[in-house]
């Protein structure tokens, strides 16, 4: 999503960075570029203006810092302003003392409410909660049916009854209470903000069910209208937050910037893929990093922690570092990573991703993984432990067994060998002669530290390419903007830091 915006800002920043001094004319030019970039990113006109003026104020009011170049100061100002415009701090979800915590979803047609409802249910389930889905969209044909199917795959039960949406919602909350569910998610029909009858209906649903959280689901691809929509829904329902859907598109997501500004409510969740697991809390500070090309490593680590089987990972990591990493470990790890979501989605969170790599990430088809799996599974245990023994006839056998070609088997073996080599060098602490190898060194160091404890922060900092450790909950000060420069990502590197 935010790709082009970050690219444009980077171009502007690059020009400024290369100059020792920033003149008012330079600043005007930079700000004009930023404004255009924001408009092309579908940021609402008024919000874009306000944003630009705020950046100007930040730049002109501040005494030139000694440690930062003028260009860096503009970038810092943009970053800070982005964090602010995207919602400041993340909303802290609390739960009702008398369950269930009622969550009401509203939005335009096709914004993605039903899908988001199911994703939320899954998310809460993963948090150890026990949600109930209530289908109050009786308008769209088969909407409840869709919710039931999605609910079934999230293993969350769905309540709905034909007739009146208001009555259904009320009955749904009662049902949640009766069943002892602690979260009750109400999906409503899509409605236009100017459709008075339907807006009145959702107002009645809200009144009768007294939701603890009312979220507006808004499509990340929305244009200037996002503001009008958000304002209208806010006036009707007093929103608590916004959920941004379809964030995995290449839309710049300017709507995100606009909405917070207009309704003064944060974006709480972001939906970033078609799978039910592709929903996460929205972190404005991280998103600002992402806009500026920082990658979103904290999210990545969190995802990893949540979904991976720690023991399996620890075991294979150990083997990896000690250089005894076989194809079995490889496969196991592949499965662990797959649990985190689509591979393309994971890759997008990595720092230092340039345009080509992002495109490559889009092309990753998770079904390719099953081909790899088939190849590995067609090997004997001995072959998996030590692929060196695979000769011509074994190769043909494996190819036949897995329904692939000898070339594919070869490719896998070759890549695996590279990976093994890299891991061995990490494990032994020897630095491969590649750019940015220092990071790998720190990785090995982190492993040492892990034994003595307290390495988590070092790790986060290291993965972000930072020299200094980055606090787990970054404050307004963008640790990112600084770290990024240290990481020399602009040197035309084609692979991501971890890709070797």
């Amino acid at each position: 999503m935010f790709d082009a915006l970050s690219e444009r800002l980077e171009r502007v920043a690059g020009r400024l960075r290369s100059r020792g001094r920033i003149s008012p004319a330079d600043l005007d030019e930079a700000l004009a570029e930023i404004r255009t970039a924001l408009l092309e990113a579908d940021v609402e006109l008024g919000v874009a203006r306000h944003f630009v003026e705020a950046v100007r104020a930040r730049c002109s009011g501040v005494v030139l810092s000694k440690s930062l170049s003028p260009g860096q100061q503009v970038v810092k100002a943009v970053h800070e302003q982005l964090v602010e415009a995207l919602g400041g701090e993340a909303l802290r979800l609390t739960y009702a003392s008398r369950p269930p915590t009622v969550v009401l979803l509203a939005g335009l047609q096709g914004a993605g409410k039903t899908t988001v409802a199911a994703k939320l249910a899954r998310w809460w389930k993963a948090q150890g909660r026990n949600p109930l889905l209530v289908g109050a969209d009786l308008q769209r044909p088969a909407a409840v049916e869709q919710l039931r199917v999605l609910g079934a795959s999230a293993q969350v039960s769905v309540f709905s009854e034909p007739g009146d949406p208001v009555a259904t919602a009320v009955a749904g909350v009662a049902e949640a209470r009766r069943l002892g569910r602690d979260v009750c998610i109400i999906d409503t029909a899509g409605r236009l903000s100017i459709d008075e009858a339907l807006m009145d209906e959702v107002r009645r649903i809200s009144k009768r069910t007294e939701p603890h959280y009312t979220f507006l689901v808004i499509d990340a691809m929305t244009g200037q209208d996002a503001v009008a929509t958000a304002r209208a829904f806010h006036e009707t329902l007093a929103l608590d937050g916004v959920i941004l859907s379809k964030l995995d598109s290449d839309a710049r997501g300017g709507a995100a910037l606009s909405v917070k500004e207009v309704v003064g409510r944060p974006i709480v969740f972001a939906s970033t893929g078609e799978r039910l697991a592709d929903l996460d809390l929205f972190h404005p500070d991280r998103m600002a990093d992402r806009i500026l090309g920082m990658g979103d490593v904290l999210t990545l680590i969190e995802q990893a922690e949540r979904t991976m089987d720690q023991e399996v990972v620890a075991r294979s990591a150990d083997r990896m570092l000690s250089g005894r990493f076989g194809l079995d470990d490889f496969l196991e790890q592949l499965h662990q990573v797959q649990k985190m979501g689509s591979l393309g989605g994971i890759l997008r969170l990595m720092p230092g991703m340039n345009k080509e790599l992002r495109q490559a990430a889009d092309q990753i088809d998770d079904s390719q993984v099953s081909r790899i799996e088939a190849i590995v599974r067609s090997m004997t245990p001995a072959e998996r432990a030590d692929p060196v023994i695979i000769d011509g006839s074994r190769r043909v056998r494996i190819a036949r067994g897995s329904g692939t070609s000898a070339q594919e088997v070869n490719q896998l073996l070759k890549q695996f060998k590279e990976m093994q080599k890299m891991m061995r060098s990490v494990g032994s602490g020897a630095m491969p002669a590649m750019g940015g190898g220092g990071r790998l060194g720190r990785l090995a160091a982190a492993r040492e530290m892990a034994k003595s404890g307290g390495a988590e922060e070092t790790l986060a900092g290291m993965m972000a390419g930072n020299g200094p450790p980055r606090p787990p909950a970054p404050t307004g000060q963008p640790a990112g903007a600084k770290g990024r420069r240290n990481a020399k990502k602009k040197g035309g590197r084609v692979t991501p830091p971890k890709g070797r």
Binding site: Q310, D318, L343, R447, L459
Partner: protein, 370 residues
């Protein structure tokens, strides 16, 4: 494939770091096992490009008003529904009336941007406004609307092509990103085409979204049309293939084929779409329209959608939905101008009759409020 290996490299590091992180921190309660994966989309192999449609020289079933003509038929509805967009250009009119030309042009720029027309097109329009300073009460406004109508007049053919040739089944394919209203559009269109005298069959090519076929089934029932559907997660191409075969056997000459919403950035899903189109074009089928459904609330990303889908499956026209809201749908202007894709249909409400032929003059009039 290379990308995959990059990821595998990445995953090694992620796994490693997770292990390190967790061994230091006492184990947090690990989440429950991961999500049930949604059925993966069917990957298809790259194909040779599908030959583009022959020039559409078919009978024109839709009322087709030329630019500038007073609309007939459904026109009042469109004009009436688009009335809400008038507010944007109101300051412009006031300024123009007072003769404050520069301010009026600035107001025009602002209004165009707010209507999602986009920076590039707005800049060009405003530049030529500055070159033609015509005074008078509505001077700026009328020059502007003239310019807009001109953009639309470059794509005069807004008809929907049905050949009704014996032995051939015409296929209209509906494509677009998620949630734009493809299924609803097909439902409405099935009713409209039936009333036009077409013998329609529906293909529920959205085998991905839960209950999409059920949704279409309800529309099919209303239209009295047969619906061909497959199991959830099955290959959409085979559904379309079956639909064409069935249409031929039954003597239906038009198949309206739904497809699952897909982001134009998902290469494998776009590949799947190519395959659907290829299969639909196989005898006795013939794809005569590929309609891109766009949501009027969409911003500049609509251009990217139009470009990518056109490149992949040769879009022949645009259906602009949800124009009855506060969104202006101005992004169709750069789409018409840069990509020369004609808007053919407009959705202005939820009722079956709320899908009407697009009329440039009415759209522009309503947009700038002349």
């Amino acid at each position: 494939m290379i990308a995959l290996w990059i990821v595998l490299g990445v995953l090694a590091l992620v796994a490693l770091s997770t292990a390190v992180a967790t061994s230091t921190r006492r184990r947090r309660s690990p989440g429950p096992p991961a999500a049930p994966a949604a059925p993966a989309a069917v990957a298809t192999r790259r194909s040779t490009a599908v030959p583009p449609n022959a020039a559409p020289l078919a009978p024109e079933p839709e009322p087709e008003p030329g630019p500038g003509s007073e609309g007939t038929g459904a026109a009042p509805a469109l004009r009436d529904r688009l009335g809400r967009t008038r507010g944007l250009f109101a300051p412009l009119r006031a300024l123009g009336a007072r003769g404050e030309l520069a301010a009026a042009i600035d107001a025009a720029e602002e209004a165009l941007l707010r209507a999602d027309v986009g920076v590039e097109t707005t800049t060009d329009l405003v530049a030529s406004l500055r070159q033609r300073p015509e005074r008078g009460a509505d001077g700026v406004l009328s020059v502007l609307s003239g310019q807009l109508v001109e953009i639309f007049s470059e794509n005069p053919d807004r008809s929907l092509r049905v050949d009704r040739e014996p032995g051939v089944v015409d296929v209209w394919l509906f494509v677009g990103v998620n949630g734009v209203g493809k299924t609803t559009t097909i439902g409405k269109l099935a009713l409209a085409r039936r009333d036009e005298g077409d013998s329609v069959l529906l293909a529920a090519g959205d085998t991905f979204r839960a209950a999409a076929a059920d949704q279409l089934a309800l529309w099919a029932e209303r239209a009295g049309a047969e619906l061909i559907r497959g199991a959830e997660g099955s290959d959409p191409s085979s559904v379309v293939f079956d639909a064409v075969q069935r249409a031929k056997a039954r003597g239906n000459h038009l198949v309206l084929a739904d497809t699952a919403g897909r982001l134009h950035t998902k290469v494998n899903l776009v590949e799947e779409l190519r395959k659907i189109r290829r299969v639909a074009d196989r005898e006795p089928g013939r794809v005569t329209e590929v309609l891109l459904v766009l949501d009027a609330t969409t911003g500049q990303n609509a251009l990217a959608q139009a470009r990518e889908f056109t490149e992949a499956v040769g879009v022949t026209g645009v259906v602009l939905t949800k124009l009855d809201g506060t969104a202006k749908g101005g992004v169709v202007i750069p789409i018409e101008r840069q990509l020369h894709l004609p808007v053919k249909l407009v959705g202005v409400g939820e009722g079956p009759a709320d899908l009407v032929a697009f009329e440039p003059a009415a759209f522009v009039d309503a947009l700038v409020g002349v």
